[in-house]
Symmetry: C2
Subunit: 334 residues, 2 copies
């Protein structure tokens, strides 16, 4: 579907589900961005889920989002069960504003929901010449080191930085071996997942996506990845007032209450300590790109480059929508 037409369609759907025009617009932009950067797991495939949760009164379409400044640098946001996109959009803008005042802005969000991709918010800060660290927790997917039951979410660690070019440095990596969304997509299409990324519910290795969804995903690097997932749970859940310790609900199949996801945004002026920060980034990237490469590797890419290229390429053409999701869209419009 053509981008503008798709955007209008998404806005229409969210407005039908009682979101304001402004909030519907924020959601549509985030969803289309996910499609354009080649992350369909965080795009249209979730549209029906968001609407289902609004209908079941688990996402509040008319949230009274409360901001409380606890200092010049720090703000706490109670998102009132808003759709995650809207809470995160307000939060990153506030973090940027705080950072403009004191060099560093800290914004903690509670009572939010799934907000799509962390990198999308980090990019907003990078466009204002700022560095961003973004943390969010997520429903149980990864077993803590030593356990055979999922508890941590795929809990991404996200870091964004300006560069000397228009391609930002955006690291947005889950601490699981594979993104849960990818397993979900594999499950929908009955395709297999790689070996070594998940166990079934009995603790046995599996390549069956459906079994993996019922079992546990493995963290990267054993206790190290488990520790990083734990850190993200603390920063985004314990610290903010959000759910934590395995209490974040799965948005697709747990309708027993709102998700109450927590997010944490740390934003810092890029040239706070070094006025030539961008030139330093240019030198840093140049040195790394010049290294001798492994056989078969033509170019060393920094995090975010691939995504930017996909965005540029996809921007020129229509967005391809799988048949089942097209059906979702048609049903949601009715």
């Amino acid at each position: 579907m053509e981008k503008n037409k798709l955007k209008k369609t998404i806005i229409k759907i969210f407005q039908k589900f009682k979101l304001s025009k402004n909030h519907a617009d924020i959601c549509a932009n985030a969803i289309i961005n996910a499609e354009l950067v080649g992350a369909p797991t965080h795009g249209l495939s979730r549209l029906k889920m968001y609407c289902d949760r609004i209908q079941k009164k688990l996402i509040n379409p008319k949230p009274k989002i409360k901001l409380k400044n606890v200092s010049q640098s720090a703000t706490h946001i109670n998102a009132d069960d808003s759709i995650g996109f809207v809470a995160a959009d307000i939060a990153i803008k506030k973090a940027i504003k705080n950072a403009k005042k004191t060099g560093i802005g800290l914004v903690a969000v509670k009572n939010s929901g799934h907000y799509g991709m962390s990198g999308y918010y980090a990019e907003q800060a990078v466009k204002k010449n700022m560095i961003a660290l973004v943390f969010t927790n997520a429903p149980p997917a990864i077993a803590p080191h030593g356990a055979i039951k999922s508890l941590f979410g795929t809990n991404p660690i996200c870091f964004g930085s300006p560069t000397a070019s228009k391609v930002p440095f955006i690291l947005d990596t889950s601490v699981s071996m594979i993104n849960r969304g990818k397993i979900r997509v594999a499950s929908r299409s009955n395709s297999k997942i790689p070996e070594g990324v998940a166990l079934d519910k009995f603790g046995n290795p599996t390549t069956n996506a459906k079994k993996a969804l019922k079992g546990v995903q493995l963290p990267i690097a054993g206790f190290r990845g488990s520790g990083l997932a734990w850190m993200v749970d603390i920063l985004s859940g314990v610290y903010t007032g959000g759910n934590h310790g395995g209490k974040v609900k799965d948005p697709f199949d747990d309708f027993s209450g709102p998700q109450n996801i927590g997010h944490l945004f740390i934003v810092m002026k890029a040239n706070l300590f070094q006025s030539n920060y961008k030139r330093r980034m240019k030198e840093n990237i140049k040195r790394i790109k010049k290294l001798p490469k492994l056989k078969g590797i033509n170019e060393i890419l920094y995090p975010g480059e691939n995504k930017f290229r996909r965005y540029k390429k996809n921007y020129k053409s229509e967005i391809k929508i799988p048949k089942d999701i097209m059906e979702d869209i048609q049903n949601l419009l009715m």
Copy 2:
């Protein structure tokens, strides 16, 4: 050797190498702490290296450390080629002070050196009821994803948080499969390193510690770990004004100039957003410890617990010093 006697000995050595009593004391505490927590790679095994670098005028024993407040929250420190322990000690204390004012303190350090363990500084913040994120870069050890030459250091990610007990949550994990110090210790004792953690200089897998030191270490989780290492290099090197992009010198065998390591400390009041933060941490940890466990696992430990137990155990007895290091100490005293 008995702890107090060892401390006096280390202070004596550093004073002989022109450090002030106060600075020598800071160094001795950090080194002894590394021995007590069971991290000898960051303890006495580096004593001779520090002294060698002082003697070669690469570490400045009488640094004029300059602090510049760029805002109420943020401070930049030029450590004037100080020994890392001293620069980091001043930096974490300043970050805590800034956080007391605005909820969040940010301190960037340049022209520093190896400071021992990141977790040691995070602990100082935790004792003041604060959360800490600590980043430092290090000499080339890990090949960026796609490269066959080391460039990133083992670049640890460190996160500390108060808990409801006296055992702090301290994650201090390098993003390499194995700590460089462990390879160095294996090399000294001619023992093997595990498979899959390093390549020799030709790009072939090796379990020979000496060959691994000349080759490259592998990051955790491929491109994810490589991206995390890159993030740490940017935060602690590019951002602070320190060396970066492979320019941090190996303290043991590169005497061509000071290391100019950079560090970044982000400290936040633990109860900034939730007054019952410690109770929330208690609940978080309780839920995770109660999970069903893998066969052979009796207890799920949080990061820092093992280290705390080793500390308590080792605190009661004398510190064992290997013969070669005892010889170093005797030579340094002469």
